[in-house]
């Protein structure tokens, strides 16, 4: 007989062994999926690894893919830590991209270095504003934030499509005859391009560095301040928090705004670092917000772990994008992310509980 008992203390080594074990098991399951669908597993994994991490060029692309995931991962981690399930990171990223691009276009080339901070601020405001809708509904009408924040993702996608494809908006390029027939976003001015730094032979996008700084700040906020302490208490036990007189409603608004602002900066970084225009197709096709949920859950809502996991999943996403084709069908990356998350969730049991193998008689005694 196997009995499941709650652990009184959680050994440190388990906190590392379980995630590593989860990934190993997930790859095992992935092998099964590939075998069933007649794809050679080792060959597929090899190509995945080499096109995600195998060369300088691959690593540079992986860093670019990591940048938005870092933001959406932090976005989810910040909110989920309080048991506030903001799954609107996707829409909040769009909102940040819209306002970020607007700031970049509006400032043009005249204001020099001011463009970058202005875009960051505009992106943060856009994301926070969108996140405040489910936050207010949750705080004052106790409406389920999961569904409302998700619904806004669909609305956000429709809005950016409208701005570029179905209107003569501020963001749309109407300068040339071809641009009128084939709708596309206005190119951002040069001053709105975020700087790239060289680390060894690698090109590091500015957004990635910004994301790392934000991760450190979030860690400070959640572990070294009264605000963060209260957020964690509310997350662990809402009832205990209200007995202690903590104001849940304010925390909901503040945490959701912070979460949305981080996703929004991720959107602005898409404009400034990578796309240099408001690009609805590219933004909506990638599913950054949903991958962010996977990252936050795998990182167990720890901001530093988010950085690491974002890099790993960024590599996976980059490889999937490069390899997409006949022998590497789309959807494989999502399947893989899902499997890793399932295994991590199952592994959680081993962190919290101990499996004890006993003989039948012992269980009878324990039950009695």
């Amino acid at each position: 007989m196997i009995r499941i008992e709650r652990r009184l203390t959680q050994p440190k080594w388990l906190l590392v062994a379980v995630p590593v074990g989860s990934i190993v098991v997930a790859f095992g399951l992935m092998t099964l999926v590939l075998l069933i669908t007649n794809h050679p597993p080792l060959h597929t994994f090899g190509r995945l690894l080499s096109s995600g991490f195998g060369s300088t060029a691959a690593l540079n692309d992986t860093l670019i893919a990591t940048t938005p995931l870092l933001f959406t991962g932090l976005c989810a981690a910040v909110a989920f830590r309080m048991q506030l399930f903001n799954i609107g990171g996707e829409g909040q990223l769009y909102a940040g991209a819209v306002l970020g691009a607007a700031a970049g276009i509006a400032l043009g080339n005249h204001s020099g270095w001011l463009s970058v901070p202005a875009m960051i601020a505009a992106g943060a405001i856009g994301g926070a504003a969108l996140a405040l809708i489910p936050a207010i509904l949750r705080a004052f009408f106790s409406t389920n934030e999961i569904i409302t924040s998700l619904m806004l993702n669909y609305v956000g996608a429709l809005v950016i499509n409208y701005l570029i494809f179905d209107s003569q908006s501020y963001w749309r390029d109407t300068s040339s005859p071809t641009a009128k027939v084939f709708p596309q976003g206005k190119p951002l001015p040069d001053a709105a391009s975020w700087p790239t730094s060289h680390v060894g032979s690698l090109l590091v996008p500015f957004g990635l560095l910004l994301g790392l700084v934000i991760a450190a700040l979030v860690w400070l906020l959640y572990t070294r301040t009264r605000f963060g302490f209260e957020v964690q208490v509310i997350g662990d036990s809402r009832r205990a928090a209200s007995y202690a007189g903590m104001r849940t409603r304010r925390k909901i608004l503040a945490v959701m705004a912070l979460s949305g602002a981080i996703a929004g900066i991720g959107g602005a970084s898409q404009d400034g670092d990578i796309r240099h225009t408001l690009d609805p197709r590219g933004l909506t096709a990638a599913g950054y917000g949903y991958a962010g949920i996977v990252i936050a859950a795998l990182a167990r809502y720890n901001p530093f772990a988010v950085c690491l996991v974002a890099f790993l999943l960024g590599g996976l996403q980059n490889a999937g994008y490069t390899l997409q084709g006949v022998d590497f069908p789309s959807g494989l990356v999502g399947v893989m992310q899902g499997l890793i998350l399932f295994c991590a969730l199952g592994g959680e049991l081993l962190v919290r509980y101990r499996l004890r193998f006993t003989r039948g008689t012992h269980t009878a005694e324990a039950a009695a």
Binding site: I147, L152, G334, R352
Partner: protein, 317 residues
């Protein structure tokens, strides 16, 4: 001819677009009544949709396709059931994981690609089968009689589920498991078995709901064909206060919101208004309805099973 008036068209499409929502919502209702929250509806619907379409292309049998869709949905639900019932994982995160695993960028897309289902016309699709004179009857004809068998089966399902939950011993046990698993356990009810069974049945209905799109409404396979219907179905269960008859009302209400964009666009009504505004209608209305229902529901805690979302562990009360 009154049958061509835009309101009749909208009402007919309300029933059509409401039907997949109804199947998925009834499935989620059964799951939640047993105390399990499964947010993976969107993923289960998509896998049901793709596998149902595959089955009809391979075998040409619509009935078999529905069975395959149900099995596909149930097997997705099995993953969730194992994680949250046996391994006691967080139900919200596991449900989200299921959407990512099975959803529009995951398994459903992978299968659609691997089985070469995109851009294929359907070999068979559900069509209206009632006598022609019924179908052309004014007003009720297009709305009620020019529908596929899936619609009539869903009505039967609503009645059966209502009777099952409220008038049978088994239904009483399910409600006990959802409201107070400790009490149910003490009565000798196998909480784990009930939760597994209802999560699987819920997944099967979600699979059928997804197949409504690929076997009848569209009928073809496109990545992410459900476009958020699974999430609307979850909102519907809240809207319906966990009662199956109200699910029917809600499903057709949201069916109308989904049908209006197509009906209006096809007829050029309100031309100046951007199409995106209409397309966002079902999503925005979901939020609006949810706010109305939850602020009223918060006062009296109408309907939500008390043990919803919490794992049951015998030794930890």
């Amino acid at each position: 001819m009154i049958n061509n008036s835009v309101w009749v068209v909208v009402l007919a499409s309300a029933v059509t677009y409401g039907t997949p929502l109804l199947y998925a919502a009834i499935g989620e209702l059964l799951t939640e009544r047993a105390g399990v929250l499964n947010l993976g509806v969107e993923g289960m619907m998509l896998v049901g949709a793709v596998m149902g379409f595959w089955a009809v292309q391979r075998t040409g049998s619509l009935l078999l396709a529905i069975v395959v869709a149900a099995i596909a949905g149930a097997s997705m639900a099995l993953i969730h059931a194992f994680l949250v019932i046996t391994l006691r994982a967080n139900q919200i995160v596991s449900g989200l994981a299921l959407v990512i695993f099975a959803g529009s960028a995951g398994l459903s897309s992978y299968l659609g690609n691997d089985l070469n289902l995109a851009d294929q016309p359907a070999r068979h699709a559900f069509t209206p089968f009632l006598p022609h004179s019924w179908q052309t009857a004014s007003v009720v004809g297009p709305i009620l009689f020019k529908q596929s068998a899936l619609v009539y089966a869903s009505w039967a399902l609503v009645v059966i589920v209502a009777l099952y939950l409220n008038r049978t011993r088994l239904g009483l046990n399910v409600r006990a498991v959802g409201e107070s698993p400790e009490a149910a356990d003490a009565m000798g009810i196998n909480v784990t078995a009930y939760r597994y069974a209802h999560t699987l049945v819920g997944g099967a209905f979600a699979g059928v709901g997804g197949a409504c799109f690929t076997l009848w409404i569209t009928p073809q396979w496109v990545d992410g064909i459900t476009a958020g219907a699974g999430w609307i179905a979850i909102a519907l269960v809240i809207f319906a206060f966990w009662r199956s008859a109200l699910c029917l009302v809600g499903a057709y209400l949201f069916g109308a919101f989904s049908g209006i964009p197509f009906a209006f666009q096809a007829r050029g009504i309100l031309k100046g208004i951007p199409p995106e505004l209409f397309q966002s209608l079902p999503y925005v209305m979901t939020i609006v309805v949810l706010v109305i229902v939850s602020s009223a529901g918060a006062r009296r805690r109408l309907g939500a099973p008390a043990a919803l979302g919490t794992p049951y562990v015998r030794e930890e009360r």
